[in-house]
């Protein structure tokens, strides 16, 4: 009962939800316009390189989502307030969707460039491990009967699992891989390509915020239902 009070009441989508979602939609359209009408075709890979402008932002948002899982998990273990676990779990779900899309669009980009859908190089393998870690993060809750115990186990996994994020990011620098290195950080990306990429990252960041807000609200509704069921059974 105390936990119910901690997480607050679920609210319907309001002004801020629609503003963030609307801004994300407008930026997505702008990003698509830039990718297909403004950015020149890359010389080596050709038109297929245009997958890059959505593949990379999805990976970044996946990393951001898992960073929020990490912060939420630390805060939950420290404060034992279920609201933090609620945020962490919601963020993990959005992160899993993003990394799933990275793992799908990557091979589609790789096939015409490398001649193979998949290769078990360091970056790709580490990405699969990252994805499996957060699938486990979601599944571990269903393995425990007591909810707070499941949240504790998941939080530990949310903290330990985050180690995979820098491993995925640095894999192209630490090992010899087929995956391209990070051109953005090296400053090797032409301004036209960089602007399209940044608009796309902004669009996906706003989409992440909108999805996280809705997902957190859903989790609050689930708690409310549990509380009401207890009252009805009493």
């Amino acid at each position: 009962m105390a936990q119910m009070e901690d997480i607050g009441m679920a609210r319907r989508g309001g002004f801020w939800d629609y503003l963030v979602l609307g801004a994300s939609f407008i930026l997505m359209i702008a990003a698509l316009g830039l990718v297909f009408l403004y950015v020149p075709t890359e010389e080596t890979m050709g038109v297929v390189q245009r997958i890059f402008y959505f593949h990379v932002p999805l990976a970044w948002i996946g990393f951001l989502a898992f960073f929020v899982v990490f912060l939420g998990s630390v805060a939950y273990l420290w404060k034992r307030n279920i609201a933090w676990d609620n945020i962490a779990r919601s963020s993990a779900e959005v992160g899993i969707v993003c990394i799933t899309l990275v793992l799908i669009t990557g091979p589609i980009w790789a096939k015409p460039v490398w001649g193979a859908w998949w290769t078990w190089d360091a970056r790709l393998t580490a990405s699969v491990v990252l994805w499996l870690t957060y699938i486990a993060y979601i599944l571990v809750r269903s393995l425990t009967l007591e909810e707070s115990r499941g949240a504790r186990f998941a939080s530990v996994l949310g903290i330990v699992g985050f180690i995979n994020v820098p491993i995925v990011f640095l894999a192209v620098h630490l090992w010899r891989t087929q995956h391209p290195t990070t051109l953005v950080l090296k400053g090797d990306l032409p301004p036209t390509m960089l602007s399209a990429l940044l608009v796309s990252i902004a669009a996906f960041t706003l989409l992440y915020v909108a999805l996280l807000m809705r997902s957190v609200s859903l989790r609050k509704l689930e708690f409310e239902i549990k509380r009401l069921k207890e009252l009805v059974s009493d």
């Binding site: 799908i104 509704l221 009401l228 009805v232």
Partner: protein, 49 residues
Amino acid sequence: MDDLGYVFAAYSIIWAIMFLFVLSLYWKERRLRRDVDRLRALLDEDKRD
């Protein structure tokens, strides 16, 4: 499949999965709000009795 086909496939999958995810959140919220309303109505009935 030509190169443009790969680009089309990648973008279609991104939009399709994102759309399904947003739709699943919307459906879930509708179902949960229905459950909340039903349970509140049950509680109100109990109080009246």
